[in-house]
Each structure stands twice: as C-alpha cells, then as structure tokens.
C-alpha cells in the first residue's frame, strides 16, 4: 500500500463523509425544531433526486436543471409533509412521531418503486471521474467536488443560522420553544422552514451522491449513516454533525485497509459504541442535565 493510495482512500472517505455530514445536518435541523427523529430523511432525499432526474430526462436539460428541480421539489415535499402529517401529530409524544416518520419512509420508498421501478439508474455528475495527477498523487475530481460542494452548502447554512432572522428564530426555538414563542417568534413558521431547509439539504446531498451510489429507491439508506454521524458528533450540534460525518466516512474506509476481514465491517459501530460510552454526548456534544 503506497501512501499515495492511502491519501486517495482518505480523500474518498472525506467525500462520502461530507454526504453523511449533510444528512446529519438535515436530521439535526428537524430535530432542533420539532424534536422529531426523521426516519424519512433518506427517502426525501431519494424522491427529490428522482424528481430532478425525471425533469432532466423529460426536458433534455443539463444537470443544473436537475439540481434546481430537485431543490424545489424537496422544499415542497418538506413543506407538505410537515403541514399535512407532522403538524397534526404535534400534541403526540415523540415516540408517536417517530412511528409516523417511519411510516413516511416506507411509503416514500414504495411509491418511488411503483413510479420509477426499484431499478438502479446512472446519474450524471458535475465532476469528472477520471484522475488528475498532482505530483505523485492521483486525485479524483469527483471526490474533491463532493467535498467542496458540501462545504459550500455548510457555509451557506452557517450564514443562514447566524445572520438571518429565520436562522435566529430557528436557534431560539431549538433552545427553548416556550421562550421563543413568548418572544413573538412564530414557532409554526420555524417548523415549516426547518422541514423545508432539511429537505433541500437532502436534495443537494442526493444530487451529489447519486453519481456515486446511483439513483435508486434504496439510495435513501445512506440516512442511517447520517444518524450515526449526528450521534457521533453529539446530536443537536451542527459542527458536531460535520465532524461526525467526516469521521465516519474516513473510518469506514480505513477499517478495511488495516483491519482483518472479520471485524472491519463492525468498526464504525464499535467506534460509535466506544465513543458514546467514553463521551456520552458525542465528540463535540454536551450532556444535557435534566431538572427535576
């Protein structure tokens, strides 16, 4: 194993890791607003990517159109799901809502299978798959592209949370809903926006990862890694989600390189259990203390 190929494997892991990070961020956005674990996040990603792809096929349009349509479709889907389903369960327990999002994920995957079949489809990429030579290193533009685009998306989100009214409202709701409401923040609007933003983040992740794992009804399963990433980083924290995602992506790639076949597939899970036991709030998280 040369160190050049090691660099490639790590960069590749960072690329998938940044997709996990985006999924983790989307999950955290929804969790912070409605305290919902959104099991349907992956399927929302999958459906919006399919919609974008279909528009591209029908219109014979370039890839950027697929991205635009996917983003719009995602926002719409997020809005509708929150308004039509989740909002009605607002008085229910978190556990009830969990089952609702589980039901949504089953429905979306099955509906996608009925609409587009369960086949896998090739998806064009913004970035080339052919390697570039940088000194002794081979670099795949597709990996760098995914990392770059994801980081861009994260910066946009960071700016949104920090400097916009909506972002401040979302942070306020995440900290304390009742106080936020008393401050005159429309909590319902934050719910809607959170679901829409999370869906859009998912759509971008979907368009980025579809050329790698291909477009199919099962591509939403990547959300499981998003959960792992979010928890690794400390659920609720955005920087934590990014760190958790990258960590998981690299770990998944390094384990098969250096460890015997018998445990390499368990490594991400063993590491997660270990991290949780050592730092119960995740790498960057704090343990919340409950009051009596």
């Amino acid at each position: 194993m040369t160190w050049a190929s090691l660099v490639h494997v790590v960069v590749s892991g960072l690329a998938t890791g940044s997709i996990y990070a985006l999924m983790a961020i989307a999950l955290v956005i929804i969790y912070n607003a409605t305290r919902t674990l959104n099991f349907a996040q992956g399927e929302m990603l999958m459906v919006s990517t399919f919609v974008g792809w279909t528009a591209m096929q029908v219109l014979q349009a370039p890839l950027i159109v697929a991205l635009a349509v996917a983003v719009v479709a995602a926002a719409l889907l997020g809005f509708v799901l929150e308004r039509v389903v989740i909002r009605h369960a607002i008085s229910a327990t978190h556990f009830d809502v969990l089952i609702i999002t589980l039901g949504l994920s089953l429905m979306l995957r099955s509906a996608a299978g009925v609409t587009w079949t369960h086949d896998e489809f090739p998806f064009p990429s913004f970035f080339s798959n052919r390697p570039l030579m940088v000194g002794p290193l081979r670099v795949a533009p597709v990996s760098l592209g995914i990392i770059g685009a994801s980081l861009g998306m994260m910066l946009v989100l960071g700016a949104l949370f920090r400097w916009t009214r909506l972002g401040r409202a979302m942070r306020a709701v995440a900290q304390n809903q009742r106080a936020a409401r008393l401050m005159g923040i429309s909590v319902e609007r934050v719910y809607s926006s959170s679901w829409m933003i999370a869906a859009v983040v998912g759509a971008v992740a979907g368009v980025l990862i579809a050329p790698v794992v291909f477009l199919s009804s099962k591509m939403g399963l990547v959300a499981i890694n998003g959960f792992t990433a979010a928890v690794l980083g400390g659920f609720g924290s955005m920087p934590g989600a990014v760190v958790g995602g990258m960590l998981l992506g690299v770990l998944e790639n390094l384990a098969p390189l250096y460890l015997p076949a018998s445990i390499k597939h368990s490594v991400p899970f063993l590491v997660m259990i270990t991290i949780l036991i050592v730092r119960p709030g995740g790498v960057l998280g704090r343990v919340a203390r409950r009051k009596v």
Binding site: V97, I99, L106, M107, T228, F269, M272, L276, P280
Partner: protein, 317 residues
C-alpha cells in the same frame, strides 16, 4: 369482568389449533413470539422511557443459542434450551447494559442500533459455530418423549411460554422491584431521592428485557426452523419498536396487541407485493394520528377498561 375476559382469551388460545386452518396456527405462533419480544422491549422502554433499536440483535443471540443447542445437544429438553437461550442473551444484555447506563434517549437508541449490527457481524464471523451466511436449519426440539415436529405442537409450546412470561411481567409490577421500576419511570431523580438504586434497576430492566427477547429468539428458531444473519436486520428491530408504540408504551396488553397487529399486517399485506410497504406505512401513520399513545391508550378511553389497571400506564403527554 376481568376474569371472564381472561377465561375467554384462554379458551380461544387453547382451542385455536382446532378452529383455525393450519397456516393460522403458524401465524399465531409468530404473533406469540413477537409478543414476547414486545413485552421484553416494553419492560425496558416502558419503565425507563428509552427505546432500543437493537432488539433484533438480542433475538438473534437467543435464536442462535437455541438452534446450536438443539443441533449439538439433541437430548436437551426444550425448556432447558429456551432457558439457556434466555440466560445467555440476558448475560449479553448485562454486558451491554452496564456501559450504556450513562446513555439516554437518542444516544441509547443509536448504541443499541450499533449493537444490532455488531451481533450480525459476529454471527457471520463465528462461522464455525453459526455456519455464517449459510444459516442453520433447526431440527424439531424434544420435550421428553415428544418431538415438537408439527405447527400445532410448536404453537402450544410458544403459547405456554408466552403465558408464563406475560404472567411474570404482570407480577413484576406488584413486587418491590416493580414498584422501584415504576418510581424510576415516573421520575428518575425523585426515585433516586427515595433511595432507589437507579443504576441497579436500569441495568435490571435491560437484563430482563434481553432475557425475554432471548427466550423469544429460541422460540423463533423453533417456529421458523431456520436462522440466518439476514433474518435479523435493523428493520426487524424497527418493527419491534413499532409494535410497542402502536400497541402502547408501557402496557403489557398493548405489547401483545401491537405484536398481533404488526405481525398480522405484515403477513396479510404480502400479497400486495410492491405496494406492501406503501400500505403498511399508511396504516402506521393513520394509527398514530388517530390513536396517539397507541392502541392501549385508545382502549383506556373506552368505559370499563379501567378494570385493567396493571396493563395500563399514565399518559405522559
């Protein structure tokens, strides 16, 4: 009223193999197996307000333990095999439960989810014992002179074990331990202040939950007749969680109903082929929208249902 309901239930359960077509005997066995898992999961979730997404892992341990015992020690009577399956799984539950004491909510959910994956990986790699991906055929178990080779025989075994474990679960809440667990459920901090050893009781809930699921796993192996790593994926754990939430968190009757509903739905929708998950998902959503808190909570609103105090819990909304 309550005695009458119990008696009717007992008659239906005992008479079922004579009344129902053969396939439904098998289906009823599956329901009983899942009901035991649901009760086990509910003992953990209901008392500690924590979900586990790793119970397919416990089920797998119990199933493989019973399968391997039945294959390697054919003379072992089936109650012993099931007890061992439960104890082995309980021991693993202890090993997982102690370090997981510090975890709550989401973090425990993810740790248990990871545990489920690790169990499947371990089964794959211990292939000398488990035959890895090939899976194991489970021969008919023996009970003294009888070989449990028919669906009816297996049904009675499963139902007897389920009845025993349900009775035990109902009675736990009447003991000192049960009252302590109830106190933990209502408020961990208040319970601790009243002298309840929180760590010990939470660990106990974990171990008992694993034990129940392990026994259910043993029965699963006997009823299905085949175990393989593909049988115990994360979606099965999710199904178990759906059973207790749709049934009603913290309710034993709810666990049984939830297991019956989810198992029957899963089975009767199979004929819808590609539409199966679509319909299943829609039903899950509808049931939670119209029956928040699950079926047990909806039943509680029916007059007269108050006669089942031990089966119900407060609403925690």
């Amino acid at each position: 009223m309550r005695r009458f309901a119990l008696a009717t239930g007992a008659v239906v359960v005992v008479g079922w193999p004579w009344a129902a077509p053969p396939y439904f005997i098998f289906l009823a066995s599956l329901i009983a197996v899942n009901a035991i898992v649901a009760i086990g999961l509910n003992l953990l979730s209901g008392y500690t307000n924590q979900l586990s997404f790793g119970h397919a892992g416990f089920l797998a341990i119990g199933a493989y333990a019973a399968a391997i015992l039945t294959i390697r020690a054919p003379a072992l009577p089936v109650p012993a095999a099931l007890l061992l399956a439960g104890l082995i799984t309980g021991a693993v539950g202890l090993a997982l439960g102690v370090p997981c004491l510090r975890l709550e909510g989401l973090y425990l959910a993810m740790a248990t989810l990871a545990f489920g994956f690790v169990v499947v990986e371990a089964i794959l790699n211990l292939d000398g014992l488990t035959r890895g991906n090939d899976g194991l055929h489970v021969p008919a178990a023996r009970l003294g002179p009888w070989s449990l080779a028919t669906d009816t025989a297996r049904y009675y075994l499963v139902v007897a074990v389920a009845a025993l474990l349900i009775a035990a679960a109902v009675n736990i809440s009447r003991t000192r331990t049960g009252r302590a667990l109830l106190a933990v459920r209502e408020s961990e901090i208040a319970a601790q202040a009243s002298g309840v050893n929180l760590a010990a009781y939470k660990t106990l809930a974990f171990v008992v939950s694993a034990f129940y699921t392990g026994v259910a796993g043993g029965l699963f192996a006997l009823v299905v007749g085949f175990v393989s790593p593909d049988s115990f994926d994360v979606f099965l754990s999710v199904d178990f969680v759906a059973m207790i939430i749709v049934g009603g968190l913290g309710s034993i009757l709810g666990s049984v109903i939830g297991a019956a509903v989810i198992t029957t739905l899963n089975d009767s929708l199979a004929g819808f082929q590609n539409y199966r998950p679509l319909i299943f998902g829609a039903i899950l959503i509808m049931s939670m929208l119209f029956m928040p808190g699950g079926i047990a909570s909806a039943l509680r609103r029916i007059p007269g249902a108050g006669a089942w105090p031990l089966f119900t819990r407060r609403d925690d909304r």
